[in-house]
Symmetry: C2
Subunit: 212 residues, 2 copies
DNA sequence: GTCTATAGACCGATAGAC
DNA sequence: GTCTATCGGTCTATAGAC
């Protein structure tokens, strides 16, 4: 590399890379738009025309990137899963497991309040099928679940999380914060700041409604 | 017959009442079907053809009872709201307010697990408009909210519910049990009975994830 | 005869797919 | 830009209960 034995690498390769970058950038813009629309109105209400319009490309171009509406949604789910993985990576795992779990819940709620949490209404069959056959998504979900599962067990072992609860119930309870309607309700009331809302829901989630 | 004191009451009146009963019964069957389908697949995915097929009547007949799909959904919401009111009526209000709130949360989750809780995905504009102009629904919602609000304040006053939480946050948290996805997740795992699931979610709701 | 419900065609609009 | 399917909603003509 020091003597640069590959002059073509300085011209042709970057050119090729540029096209790839453009392709990736466009795909990224598409997925970001899908992500936003999915968070705003859900899968059924989202139309691919809207997606094309938001990205500013022709609808036909969308199908050059993704073969169907389901795959569009799946790509958005993969994206948010990767964001989750990146967030987990950023955590200092030497902290107490309970604090780690709280951080995850907080992040999840922040994403939702920012209107960036895609929601898949109930159990759409076609979408479900697409997702379960999407390896990046399933792998990401398993990775996240296993990491959280480890922290949950550690938190139960050190006595900070209720050991009477099955770990899977704790895991699902944390996941459910991603689509907790209480956030939107409180936001809609206009009475509280985002930080206050997150504080309240974090409190009800970990400390419960009852007085401690 | 001529000596009968109430000939018309024994023939004409019941006849008229019979028709009304039929009309009401059919309408009830319609609303029940809508309720089920709404719980199963949500508003967008539910088609009025499905409703007609499930009830076993012609689609045109549906429109003799309800002017639009939105009104169909609204009727289902009114129905569940009336069921909620009836349940509140059945409660012994001399019990501690915390127990009353727990009973309400339990009932809500039982209805959802039974597949009888209609879900209105996010914020459909047309549906929202129909609902907010539906007096029976709005009145029912206000009645339920006020009764729960009273118990919440009482529970905070007697120290059983965390007084640091705004009553509205507690109210929304209880309402959110109606669409808590954790119930479905745990049900889908096949590991627990309905009663166990309700017990867990009741525990996380009132006692939180942290050890007490 | 009258009223009502039914079946099923039908329309217009929209959205997914290409 | 086009094709096609679907869906909400309407219309008509027939059947049947009173």
């Amino acid at each position: 590399m020091s003597s640069s034995p590959l002059p073509s690498a300085a011209t042709a390769a970057p050119k090729r890379s540029f096209r790839q970058q453009m392709h990736i950038a466009r795909e990224d813009a598409i997925v970001a738009a899908v992500n936003r629309l999915l968070a705003e109105k859900g899968f059924d209400a989202m139309t691919v025309d809207e997606v094309a319009a938001e990205v500013g490309i022709a609808k036909a171009s969308l199908y050059k990137h993704f073969p169907s509406k389901e795959d569009l949604a799946a790509a958005a789910m993969v994206r948010v899963m990767q964001r989750a993985q990146a967030f987990l990576d950023s955590l200092d795992t030497s902290r107490p497991p309970l604090e780690l779990l709280k951080s995850v819940a907080r992040w999840t709620m922040e994403v939702q309040l920012a209107g960036e949490m895609p929601s898949l209404p109930s159990e759409n069959s076609s979408l479900r099928a697409t997702l379960t056959t999407n390896k990046p998504y399933v792998d990401g979900l398993m990775d996240v679940s296993e990491r959280l599962g480890g922290w949950i067990q550690a938190a139960q072992a050190d006595g900070s999380v209720n050991p009477a609860l099955p770990p899977i119930a704790v895991l699902y309870t944390l996941y459910a914060r991603a689509c907790d309607p209480v956030l939107g309700f409180l936001k809609g009331s206009g009475l509280y700041t985002t930080e206050q809302i997150i504080g309240m829901v974090l409190s009800t989630c970990f400390d419960g409604l009852r007085t401690r």
